[in-house]
């Protein structure tokens, strides 16, 4: 008895609907990995939320202080680390001090410390001021109960720093109340912004409880739809979402906003001319990963279209 190949009897419609998983996985792997070795600068129009966030951070006066809630670890480093790095580059160049705390994951403070140190070293290598722990920034650590901590931050900020220690450079840990970063901070309202870099729903935790300081969010791609509702209602003053958001910030840092030139970026959100940081190291994870995202999205669209075309062809044949 002759053995027939079942695939040979399949119609085109059926074949289009049954591309083997390993083939899809291999194509995705190649499309995501190859662009990492050949960085290309793709055209980009920053979304309103990114533009507003950039405008607000760039308007921070030198010497001011912001509160940063860092709720991410390396599982989302493709997005969150890029966001944190872009934010740190701006804060360090604007000489804005910052206080970092965590309510999501015990690993997060160490991941933040490493990222801050990396960007501080990068700035120093470029001949600019090197941010020092304790002098220019503080890492308060992890608070296991996010809800209670967020309420305490809003109610009495001093209560969450009381008794905390951090490491000054080349020194033993010291009480954070002695740090110049907290000079003049009486309540959370004395911070210019609370910036939440997160990969989880801690955005809701702070939105529900912290009312005395304006907020901005840096979230992962899947959190963008939910975050958009808070942006649309004016509860947050801008946000950066996923790899696209990181690339938006990097593009704005490179080209500025409303700056005349071949790469002029205009936005309905602001007519103010903001120069950015031309000639400095502005690109990072956004530029590196955006082409990968681009091609992965292209494959996703192609796969969905192929599956649907296959379904229609199979239906027509069956009718």
């Amino acid at each position: 008895m002759a053995i027939t190949d079942p695939a040979a009897n399949k119609s085109l419609g059926e074949k289009l609907q049954s591309v083997p998983k390993p083939v899809l996985y291999l194509v995705l792997f190649m499309l995501a990995a190859i662009p990492l070795f050949f960085p290309v600068k793709l055209p980009n129009k920053p979304i309103d939320a990114s533009v507003e966030m950039f405008t607000n951070v760039m308007a921070l006066p030198e010497g001011s202080t912001v509160l940063v809630e860092s709720d991410w670890t390396n599982s989302t480093r493709g997005e969150s680390m890029g966001e944190m790095e872009a934010l740190l580059r701006i804060l360090m160049r604007k000489k804005v001090k910052f206080v970092v705390y965590t309510i999501a994951d015990p690993q997060a403070p160490q991941v933040s410390r490493d990222t801050i140190r990396k960007i501080a070293d990068e700035e120093a290598k470029a001949g600019r001021y090197r941010y020092k722990p304790f002098e220019d920034y503080l890492v308060l650590g992890y608070y296991p109960n996010g809800e209670g901590t967020a309420s305490a931050i809003n109610n009495k900020f001093v209560s969450i720093v009381s008794g905390k220690k951090d490491w000054p450079e080349n020194s033993a840990p010291r009480d954070v109340s002695l740090s110049p970063v907290l000079k003049g901070i009486k309540s959370v309202a004395d911070f210019k912004y609370l910036i939440v870099v997160t990969a989880s729903s801690t955005t809701n935790t702070v939105l529900e409880r912290i009312t005395k300081v304006p907020m901005m969010f840096m979230v992962t791609g899947v959190m963008v739809p939910e975050t958009t509702t808070y942006y649309a209602s004016g509860q947050i003053k801008g946000f950066c979402g996923g790899v696209k958001g990181v690339y938006d910030l990097e593009t704005l840092m490179e080209n500025g906003l409303n700056v005349e030139g071949p790469n002029k970026i205009v936005s309905e959100k602001s007519t103010e001319v903001i120069p950015g940081f031309p000639g400095m190291q502005n690109t990072g994870k956004g530029m590196a990963y955006y082409p990968s995202l681009h091609f992965a999205l292209f494959l996703l669209i192609l796969a969905v279209v192929t599956g649907n075309v296959g379904m229609f062809l199979a239906k027509r044949k069956g009718a």
């Binding site: 490493d114 209670g148 009480d175 509702t229 681009h294 599956g307």
Partner: protein, 300 residues
């Protein structure tokens, strides 16, 4: 020099970090907590239920009052309340950070509970040599090694003589710092990232097999998703915009404008509706838990 503008005043609830007083309070706290837990175990079931109900109710009542009772506006540090009602408001405001500290401590105990549970399950599996017990050995060994390296590294950094270890680079690092770096940054963090990246493959496979225009609703969803995804692709957006640039009416059909309209008029209202529903559900569940009306999910 004026540093932190307002230090927390010393009360019974706080003590100097690293002081003997703090350690004595920690030990006393542990003894009292252990005593309460043992007493609860010894309590008859019926009475224990009432104890838990009462603790849950009063714990919830504090935050209910904290949120609904009028809060002091522009209160000065040395301001005294003018009457009993204002005094209660001041008390709620002052007590909240203490309650937050207590809840932080209770939440931290969950880590201990998790470790206990993990050890109980996996040591049992190793002892009985159940299926895949070798993985349990790896898990326990990984946890113990990480704890040892993490703790020794932290302890060494506390010593002012080892201050250089806290600086950048590898200056002054010893075997313990390199070990911790290898385990945390070299292994754990990369495995964490690797694990999460696998999701992309499942999303692609699931979208290819399940995302079909089988009905009108599914077709609308499909087209909307495709437009939003295309708008995230700068190259497509750029060429699309070139095609319609300069024509007033057609400017509305630029990819970013269509995507923006979809987000503002379709996606955002839909998510708000869902959020309201979820919020009401959470509120009702919260009230049921608070008043001990929720019977499902308990050990009884």
């Amino acid at each position: 020099m004026e540093l932190l503008a307002q230090l927390a005043p010393k009360t019974f609830w706080n003590a100097q970090n690293g002081s003997g007083e703090l350690f004595i309070k920690i030990i006393l706290g542990l003894l009292v907590s252990t005593g309460i837990v043992v007493a609860l175990f010894k309590t008859p079931n019926q009475l224990r239920r009432w104890v838990i109900t009462a603790v849950t109710f009063f714990s919830g009542l504090f935050y209910v009052l904290f949120w609904i009772y009028p809060t002091p506006i522009n209160r000065q540090p040395d301001e005294a309340p003018r009457n009993v009602l204002e005094g209660f408001s001041f008390w709620l405001s002052d007590a909240q950070p203490v309650v937050a500290d207590l809840t932080n401590i209770i939440a931290a105990f969950l880590i201990g509970l998790g470790i206990y549970s993990l050890l109980r399950v996996h040591l049992g599996r190793i002892g009985k040599q159940q299926r895949d017990w070798q993985f349990s050995v790896v898990l326990i060994a990984g946890m113990v090694i990480m704890v040892i390296f993490g703790y020794v590294d932290w302890y060494m950094r506390l010593d002012p003589a080892n201050a250089k270890m806290a600086g950048s680079g590898y200056v002054g690092w010893t075997f313990w710092q390199f070990g911790r770096d290898l385990l945390f940054n070299g292994l754990l963090q990369n495995m964490d990232a690797g694990m999460f990246s696998i999701v992309a493959f499942y999303i692609l496979s699931a979208a290819y097999r399940a995302f079909r225009a089988r009905s009108v609703e599914a077709t609308i969803l499909l087209v909307t998703a495709l437009i939003v995804m295309l708008s995230l692709m700068g190259l497509i957006e750029y060429f699309w915009a070139q095609g319609v640039d300069g024509m007033h009416l057609s400017n509305n059909f630029k990819l970013d404008n269509v995507a923006r309209w979809l987000r503002a008029n379709v996606q955002t209202p839909a998510i708000r509706g869902i959020d309201f529903g979820v919020g009401i559900g959470l509120l009702s569940m919260g009230v049921r838990l608070w008043l001990n009306l929720e019977k499902t999910g308990g050990s009884n």
